[in-house]
Amino acid sequence: MSFSYRDDMASADIAFQAQGKTIEELFSSAWQALIEVMVNDSKKIKKSITRTLDLEQTSLPMLLLIFLQEALFYKDAQQLFLIVEDIAVSHEAGSYSLKATLKGEPIIKHKHRLGIDVKAVTLHKFNLERTDHGWEATVVLDI
């Protein structure tokens, strides 16, 4: 997982840049960067609950955006912290699709070292591009 938080991009909120040698690695890094804003000890999240995702979009950046939003949905709707266990991204006939298995556990206030709640993944400065080393995404989160 490779990501770093960028203080110079969003003073009121949180921005990060995530990298991956493959597109799947990039998606996983970006998910992890998002989760670690909300829980400071994400490595301690137990993998006791499984959820699966099956998403489709016409562009890769939009696929990343709706993928990250699923982390917020599960955090609010089911009070779960989930980590990417397995992910595959494919491209066919102008459409990008993603299948992922997520594993995690319920949010427990006294157990997890909570960070800060994320309201939304924004389109502000949102970017996904190929680099010499693979892929890189820039994401700004609304806090």
């Binding site: 203080d7 003073s11 009121a12 800060i116 709640d117 924004t122």
Partner: protein, 484 residues
């Protein structure tokens, strides 16, 4: 002045003409002192001039003294649109629809509360959920939640969570009547129905504050608002529509991104300004869904205040009415609303977008609760947990911004930088030594909210006062705070 093209009109007013950027339909007006405008990031000027390019904008695009970078609109941004020819944009309202402030007064004094402060704050922290993904204090089914979002605070009144006076002292009486649950996605309902009565995190808070005699700026207005006891205790709440509102905004932002160019041939300078004509089916659907989120936030704050009344009642062993626990007012600072204003001498209905901006009606105006009408609408400005907050009142001169003023301090330091600079546990101890007792769900979150991360709130409210947008009534000093 660091940005070329900005003209100084007065000590607290700056203007950017439409020649600044291609496509600007109206000038921009920024209400700020020189110090505050110099603290604004360059992006604020880009964003507010992008707003000035939107179809149907009327008069000016406004930036208020607490302006800072947002998404689409800057935070502290406002703009009015002709409902017939103009647009509606989720980026002009914010992800946290009806994020807002509520202020409750008590008849208790600081000396009466001080011995019980720790117990009060601990009990509030235990009974009012806060922090990441927190489930709310109210348990409702998804069907009941649909009633909540359509009926707003009327639902609370019917179900024993509100008093009639709470509704009378809330903007829109706590319910926007165009809310239709059918216009909201199932995902938004799933995301929000368990969160009613929860604070969330970030800059959201519940605070016990004291009004010291030396901090009363307008005695007459303070008395009308029921603040007439030396060292009187009040409770302030800052929160919004939680995951429900965030999902409503997200759903329609995506929908508008697709429809904007394909169906309506509108181009914007920023994807976060995605918009559609207000009178289009898409525009009306969003307006209705947004009103559901507005209502959810009013109910969210009402349930929190209901819990506050219960906690004070339990600890002081008196009924809330015997503790004088009456709501002063509830204002929203993230909305779009249809309002009638005077434009070039004629009354006109306008769609007012206010993002991190507060409605501030002047004396005698319809919409101000009858008991406050003589002096104007209360405006609640939330500050940091270290520096305090303000109660202001709207003015007749506020017509220049369609009766809109600031909403808070505005950040000057990034969250990551604040975490590096401040330690949450140390900050907690430092504030305790200063007489401010805090409970928080996250120490790192607490560090991000350090007072030094924000602009000086005194500068913000003074600039708003000098500009004639609102005037100071009282400065409220924190003594207890719960944060997510």
């Amino acid at each position: 002045m660091k940005i070329q093209g900005i003209k100084k009109i007065s000590n607290v007013l700056w203007e950017i003409s439409p020649s600044f950027k291609g496509g600007m339909k109206v000038p921009v007006r920024i209400y700020a002192s020189e110090k505050l405008i110099n603290q604004m990031e360059k992006e604020v000027f880009e964003q507010i001039t992008n707003v000035a390019c939107l179809p149907g904008i009327v008069d000016y695009a406004f930036c208020l003294p607490d302006g800072h970078t947002g998404y689409g609109f800057p935070i502290g941004g406002a703009a009015a649109f002709d409902p017939q020819t103009g647009i509606i944009s989720p980026g002009g309202i914010g992800f946290d629809i009806n994020c807002g402030m509520r202020l409750l007064r008590t008849s208790l004094t600081y000396d009466e509360v001080k011995p019980k402060l720790i117990k009060l704050v601990d009990t509030l922290f235990a009974r009012i959920p806060s922090g990441v993904g927190g489930a709310g204090a109210l348990t409702v089914t998804q069907d009941e939640f649909c009633d909540v979002i359509e009926q707003g605070m009327e639902w609370c009144l019917k179900n024993g969570y509100a008093e009639r006076k709470d509704l009378e002292r809330t903007e829109e009486r706590g319910c926007m009547s165009g809310a239709k649950a059918a216009k909201v996605s199932h995902k938004a309902i799933e995301r929000g129905y368990k969160q009613v009565g929860s604070l969330g995190s970030g800059n959201h808070f519940l605070e016990i504050q004291v009004l010291r005699p030396e901090n009363v700026h307008n005695r007459k207005a303070a008395e009308v608002f029921g603040l007439n006891i030396p060292n009187q205790i009040v409770v302030m709440v800052h929160c919004g529509s939680r995951g429900f509102g965030h999902q409503v905004a997200q759903d329609y932002l995506f929908q508008f991104l697709q429809a904007m160019q394909k169906d309506y041939h509108i181009k914007t300078n920023d994807k976060q300004l995605a918009c559609v004509p207000f009178m289009s089916r898409d525009g009306q659907d969003y307006f209705s869904a947004m009103q559901c989120a507005v209502n959810m936030a009013f109910v969210n704050r009402q349930i929190i205040i209901h819990k506050v009344r219960e906690v004070f009642s339990d600890i002081f062993k008196k009924r809330p009415s015997d503790l004088g626990m009456e709501q002063i007012y509830d204002v929203t600072h993230n909305t779009a609303k249809l309002e009638v204003h005077t434009v070039k001498g004629k009354k006109k209905e306008l769609l007012l977008h206010r993002k991190g901006a507060t409605r501030a009606l002047g004396p005698g105006m319809e919409g101000v609760p009858f008991e406050y009408r003589e002096i104007g609408q209360p405006v609640i400005i939330g500050g940091s947990m270290e520096t305090g907050s303000y109660l202001l009142v709207g003015t007749a001169q506020g017509s220049k911004t369609f009766y809109t003023t600031a909403h808070g301090s505005g950040r000057v330091m990034g969250r990551h930088q604040a975490k590096k600079q401040f330690n949450g546990r140390e900050l907690l101890q430092k504030l305790k030594a200063k007489g401010i007792y805090i409970r928080c769900a996250s120490y790192s979150g607490l560090a991000e909210e350090a007072g030094a991360a924000y602009k000086n709130i005194d500068d913000v409210v003074k600039a708003a006062e000098q500009a004639g947008l609102s005037t100071r009534v009282a400065r409220l000093i924190p003594i207890g705070n719960i944060k997510g």
